[in-house]
């Protein structure tokens, strides 16, 4: 069910009616029913896989909890009879058992994810290699339909399981509650990837109707639809044209095209987040935020702390830290410290963890060499910056430059870098992505008129896009210090209703009349 559709609007109205009219005790059951209905709209046959994930995680978490509790209880009951050595043996035995349980369930669920997302990529690579050796054996691709949101719900649920393994979170006793945590519809297609402790406290508690929350949520939804329909969807056809025919356009036209893409993907993805966060807020639920004005970041590392925040946090918690602080890695760091000095000893463990995180992040986004290169490149830049930090600090101390000018330069530099890296996997293939880069730097044709600079753009559309983007920029600038929602609420109600009605009318005209291009959201493909 597309979020930009009449059926979704009716779905939301019905949900809100049931959520607020039914007894508060069953609010979470209302959410579960609507989540399952939403999921069934994407194909009932795929529901089987999400049920496997939810059920295996529920069972696994209970098992892990049980093993921990039993062991602790046994040690407590026999603390006077057991020697320190016996206690240590018992603890190690428990640890091994828990590791086995965790590994089995992770293997099952990440295995499912890998089959759906990566099986055909692996088959393709095997076929390429066999062709190199002139053998006639080719493996046929599998005709698989990727279950809706598998990347998101698998990561979220496995995060929960690891938290139970680490004893950071308690195991959820009710399988239906865990099913809701796994399938909660606002975040199933594009995240945010929530933490169990944070989300469960919101999902399973009773919420009282609050007009402020409801109004704020509605306004945020409208703003999200504005970003999606009036900016992202308006830009989409032009970006597609540039990506498909970059060889026919002047370098400067392609350059403008990639900046269009940067604006499009931000408006699309953050617009989606505004819609779902707004809808949740109307029900008194605060979803974790996924964006914090990312295009104002001063470095690539900072950008990734402010863009798709929940995915970054997931990788930081469950991959980066476990690798970076693992026994073998810290040992390696110590050895390097003795041999090569403090800087290598300090940076090497983090660099190894970063490479693993970024290659996995690339693969998570898609099974193509383009995404792997994209992930690797992001990782390499972050690692390079980390190693060069003393050099930057030295250079900055020598060059006398105003702090504000330096920051402005950093923001612009990061935005340009991010824009170039972003397009690499999006043009179709890694070769095409590199071809697009080459076109920008090698084709120096100077367009003589607007018609030759942007041959494909309708001037009226361009004007609307510029106005929309400027509005988005102004809001971002305001957000630096104030809450846009709170400021908006200070406007008299009549004027607020008028503004919102005007925006909604414009959006309906664009979505169903003028533009008629509103497609799915970009991050749904991941």
């Amino acid at each position: 069910m597309s979020l930009v559709s009449l059926s979704f609007f009716l779905f939301c109205v019905l949900l809100l009616l049931c959520y607020w009219l039914f007894p508060k005790k069953i609010q979470w059951i209302v959410l579960l029913v609507f989540s399952l209905v939403f999921y069934a709209f994407a194909g009932i046959e795929n529901s089987f896989y999400i049920l496997i994930t939810a059920f295996s995680s529920w069972l696994g978490a209970l098992w892990l909890d049980n093993v921990s509790q039993k062991s602790k209880q046994y040690i407590k009951d026999n603390k006077d009879n057991l020697t320190i050595e016996e206690k240590s043996i018992l603890k190690n035995k428990t640890k091994r058992k828990k590791k086995l349980i965790l590994a089995g369930i992770l293997l099952l669920n990440f295995g499912l994810l890998c089959v759906f997302k990566y099986a055909n990529f692996v088959i393709g690579q095997i076929n390429t290699i066999t062709r190199l050796f002139n053998t006639n054996t080719t493996i046929n691709s599998l005709s698989l339909i990727i279950p809706l949101g598998i990347s998101f719900y698998t990561f979220q649920t496995m995060g929960y399981l690891i938290d139970v393994y680490w004893e950071k979170s308690e195991a959820c006793k009710n399988p239906l509650k865990l099913l809701l945590f796994t399938s909660f519809f606002p975040q199933i297609t594009q995240g945010p990837i929530s933490n169990y402790q944070q989300l469960s406290s919101q999902l399973f508690s009773e919420h009282k109707f609050d007009y402020q929350n409801f109004a704020y949520g509605f306004q945020r939804m409208v703003w999200g639809y504005f970003k999606k329909i009036a900016i992202a969807d308006m830009l989409a056809p032009y970006v597609q044209l540039v990506f498909q025919n970059y060889n026919q356009y002047a370098g400067i036209t392609v350059l403008i095209g990639i900046f269009f893409y940067s604006i499009q993907i931000y408006a699309d993805f953050s617009g989606y987040m505004d819609i779902v966060c707004g809808l949740c807020r109307m029900m008194g639920i605060k979803l974790t935020e996924n964006f914090n004005r990312p295009y104002f970041s001063k470095s690539i590392a900072e950008y990734w702390r402010r863009w798709h925040i929940s995915l970054g946090n997931w990788f930081k918690t469950y991959l980066y830290y476990p690798i970076a602080v693992s026994r073998w890695n810290t040992k390696l760091g110590r050895k390097c410290n003795e041999i090569f000095g403090k800087s290598v000893g300090k940076n090497l463990p983090a660099s190894i963890a970063l490479i693993a995180v970024w290659l996995t992040t690339g693969l998570w986004h898609g099974a193509t060499w383009g995404y792997i290169a994209w992930g690797g490149l992001n990782g390499l830049i972050i690692i390079f910056s980390m190693w060069m930090e003393p050099v930057y600090a030295f250079a900055k101390s020598k060059i006398k430059i105003k702090e504000s000018i330096w920051k402005f330069f950093q923001v612009i530099r990061t935005f340009i870098l991010v824009t170039f890296i972003k397009v690499l996997p999006e043009v179709g293939s890694l070769t095409a992505g590199l071809g697009l880069w080459k076109r920008i730097f090698t084709n120096h044709t100077i367009p003589t008129s607007f018609g030759t600079l942007l041959p494909f753009v309708n001037k009226l559309h361009l004007m609307a896009i510029i106005i929309g983007t400027i509005l988005m920029l102004i809001f971002s600038l305001i957000q630096r210090k104030y809450s846009v929602g709170k400021l908006f609420n200070k406007i008299p109600t009549v004027i607020r209703i008028f503004i919102l009605s005007l925006i909604i009318t414009i959006l309906i005209i664009i979505a169903f009349g003028l533009n008629n291009v509103s497609g799915g959201f970009m991050y749904e493909q991941f």
Partner: protein, 76 residues
């Protein structure tokens, strides 16, 4: 406690660790510093810091870190 203070001063001597209670939530220490800090604490106190401890709660202040070290020593 003194040993812990020495480690922290080595990582960033410009921070007033005695009064600072928001080292992580206030983004004063980043993830690179934490990795370095964990490696140094593990070596100095001969403990293994499991990823379960890598949350702001245990790294926001010197006292919190000290409590974490004691908890791990008790566990072991």
């Amino acid at each position: 406690m003194e040993k812990l203070m020495e480690i922290l001063m080595e990582i960033n001597p410009d921070i007033d660790y005695k009064t600072e209670k928001n080292l992580i939530d206030g983004k004063i220490l980043d993830s690179f510093s934490i990795v370095n800090l964990v490696a140094q604490i593990s070596e100095t106190f001969d403990i293994e810091i499991s990823p379960k401890y890598l949350i702001p709660k245990y790294f926001n202040s010197v006292d919190a870190m000290w409590e974490m070290i004691q908890a791990i020593l008790d566990e072991e």
